[in-house]
């Protein structure tokens, strides 16, 4: 089970991020998670929003370059060592994590981390075998 992530190319110049969040806000798109990876000149903005289809078509229309990437939402117990356990399971299975970041807020004592791996289904299976749950888009309020 995967969650759609929108990745947008960002040039490192003033107002780029504000432009995007402004466009999303004008179109009533709600952001659930945000992450930026950057170099000195450019970056990649990764977004989980409530309506990925709508958000991506609006951003494309505005001339942004973006790509849709399937990512896995992992339920991480919001206790000391919670993330550590998840990561040791993943590394034990020799799954390479390209990047990860967290979703705003928590639910039922569980935080949600977004994981990007090459094989999302493989990751989901390994986590399930180890009693770690994945989070569906609906649980994050995604349409």
């Amino acid at each position: 089970m995967t969650i759609p992530q929108i990745s947008v190319f960002l040039e490192n110049k003033a107002g780029q991020l504000a432009d995007i969040t402004g466009i999303l806000s004008q179109n009533q798109v709600n952001m659930r998670a945000i992450n930026i990876a950057e170099t000195t000149d450019y970056g990649v903005l990764r977004l989980i929003v409530d309506d990925a289809a709508k958000a991506s078509s609006i951003l494309l229309e505005k001339g942004f370059i973006l790509t849709m990437t399937p990512v896995v939402g992992v339920a991480v117990p919001d206790t000391p060592g919670g993330l550590s356990k998840v990561l040791s399971v993943i590394s034990g299975a020799e799954i390479d994590v390209e990047y990860m970041y967290s979703v705003f807020g928590q639910k039922d004592g569980q935080a949600c981390m977004i994981f990007r791996v090459a094989d999302s289904d493989g990751l989901t299976a390994v986590l399930e075998q180890n009693g770690i749950g994945t989070i569906a888009g609906e649980d994050l309020g995604l349409h």
Binding site: S7, V44, G63, T67
Partner: protein, 454 residues
């Protein structure tokens, strides 16, 4: 009384300096100071001979002459030069590698080549006699800068295919200087030799000279440096930059001009007057033409510089269009030399850029971008930061090249940087920008923004 003593001291000091100034040194005084009639006589005789040599040995140029209906008999003197067809960089590319060679390969002993790469490479051939004359020209430049056999000549031009190192190296030998074949790069070693061996003359690009000057100051080596003169060329530099280098290194900085097509550095060089470069007219005939019509312009006009090599054996180019825009003047020079002076090049009549002494064509950058899957919409920004040239290529991101993985983008960027380096021979920074952020112009695209103040 006291006043007069001061006066005497002052006069003495300035007269010594004046004496130094007046002690203009020449490598071949009789040639360099020959009167105009004599120079013209040499030119007439050599031109006629050279045209015959080319006609007999270079079918490529002969065909051009035939096309224009010109035969060697039509060229009786310099006054007939305008009848000959031009040669351009395109001809050199078309004739690559042997098409303009006028001597059997067994008579050639060397090649040199331009920094230009694929499609633009120029390979020039030399007989031993050609090298000899080329080195004479460089020796004239070194002596005009005050060089003698007492000097330690530190050559930090690149050695190898580039003409800078080999040319000045040979000239330095001819003058009898102790020659340090440093080549470029490795600042620490440059400075160590400069200090330990007491270099007195520095030969390199002006931007490298400025960089070395900064490094000397950073390391506090000013008092251990014995430089007195510098011969700087292979790239455009301003009068302000000259002042800056002169002040920082406490030397006299002289300009030198040349191009691989005509041998290399030493085609023209500055004398003590520092107001332009004397063209070695016993070896080259210079013309100024209108770059659009090809028409020869009267003396003193600004236009494109055209050279005819009248003494080269292996690679004798007739009426080669340099694309450099400048002015020629025959105003009497205080140094005593009689050969015509050219101004610093004021620009180009094509789109070639000279960055860090290296010829860069926007088309080369375009080729790399297309090969690497980038759009042909790009912009080149050239600047000079701390007296050193920088080149940046702005490229638009495309959906195909984009990835959610930053590592993949930076890896792609790196491979583009290395492909550009392989093509241009110098480092060019790549800046990935948002799509459609490079201005689309209505007519001719603005590919190059040159921010250098030259």
């Amino acid at each position: 009384m006291v006043i007069s003593v001061i006066n005497i001291e002052k006069t003495d000091f300035s007269s010594v300096e004046e004496e130094m100034e007046k002690m203009e040194r020449y490598y071949q005084q009789d040639i360099e100071t020959a009167d105009r009639e004599q120079v013209l006589a040499w030119q007439n005789e050599r031109l006629v001979k050279q045209v015959r040599h080319v006609w007999d040995n270079v079918p490529y140029y002969r065909a051009k002459m035939e096309e224009k209906g010109v035969t060697p008999e039509d060229i009786q003197s310099v006054a007939d030069l305008h009848k000959l067809p031009f040669l351009t960089k395109d001809d050199l590319r078309e004739a690559y590698p042997y098409g303009l060679l006028a001597k059997p390969l067994k008579d050639c002993v060397r090649i040199q080549s331009t920094s230009g790469t694929t499609g633009r490479r120029v390979v020039a051939f030399y007989t031993q006699h050609d090298i000899d004359l080329w080195e004479d020209c460089c020796a004239r430049a070194i002596m005009a800068a005050g060089g003698t056999e007492e000097d330690v000549c530190h050559v930090s031009y690149g050695y190898g295919l580039f003409t800078g190192g080999p040319g000045l190296n040979g000239g330095s030998h001819k003058v009898g200087c102790l020659t340090l074949p440093m080549s470029s790069g490795n600042t620490d070693r440059q400075l160590q030799f400069m200090v330990d061996l007491g270099s007195t003359i520095l030969c390199c690009t002006p931007s490298y000279a400025a960089f070395l000057a900064e490094s000397i100051h950073e390391r506090g080596l000013q008092d251990q440096i014995k430089l007195k003169a510098g011969i700087f060329g292979a790239e455009a530099w301003s009068e302000e930059m000259r002042q800056d280098i002169q002040n920082k290194l406490r030397i006299r900085a002289y300009d030198i001009y040349g191009l691989t097509e005509t041998s290399g550095p030493g085609v023209a060089f500055e004398c003590s007057e520092q107001t332009g470069m004397h063209i070695n007219e016993d070896h080259f005939i210079a013309e100024i033409i209108d770059p659009d019509t090809g028409e020869v312009l009267p003396e003193g006009s600004k236009g494109e510089l055209v050279f005819t090599s009248i003494t080269k054996e292996a690679f004798p180019l007739l009426r080669y269009r340099t694309r450099d825009i400048c002015v020629l003047t025959r105003k009497k020079c205080s140094c005593g030399r009689t050969h015509v002076k050219m101004s610093k090049p004021m620009g180009r009549s094509d789109d070639m850029l000279i960055v860090k002494g290296v010829n860069v064509f926007p088309s080369q950058i375009e080729t790399v971008l297309l090969e690497q899957g980038y759009p042909a919409n790009y912009q080149i920004i050239v600047d000079r930061v701390n007296n050193s040239d920088t080149i940046e290529v702005m490229v638009e991101m495309t959906p195909e090249n984009f990835s959610d993985n930053l590592g993949k983008i930076t890896a792609m960027e790196k491979s583009l940087v290395s492909a550009l380096k392989a093509m241009l021979g110098i480092y060019a920074k790549v800046r990935l920008v948002a799509p459609k952020s490079i201005t689309r112009s209505e007519g001719k695209a603005v590919r190059v923004i040159d921010k250098r103040k030259i």
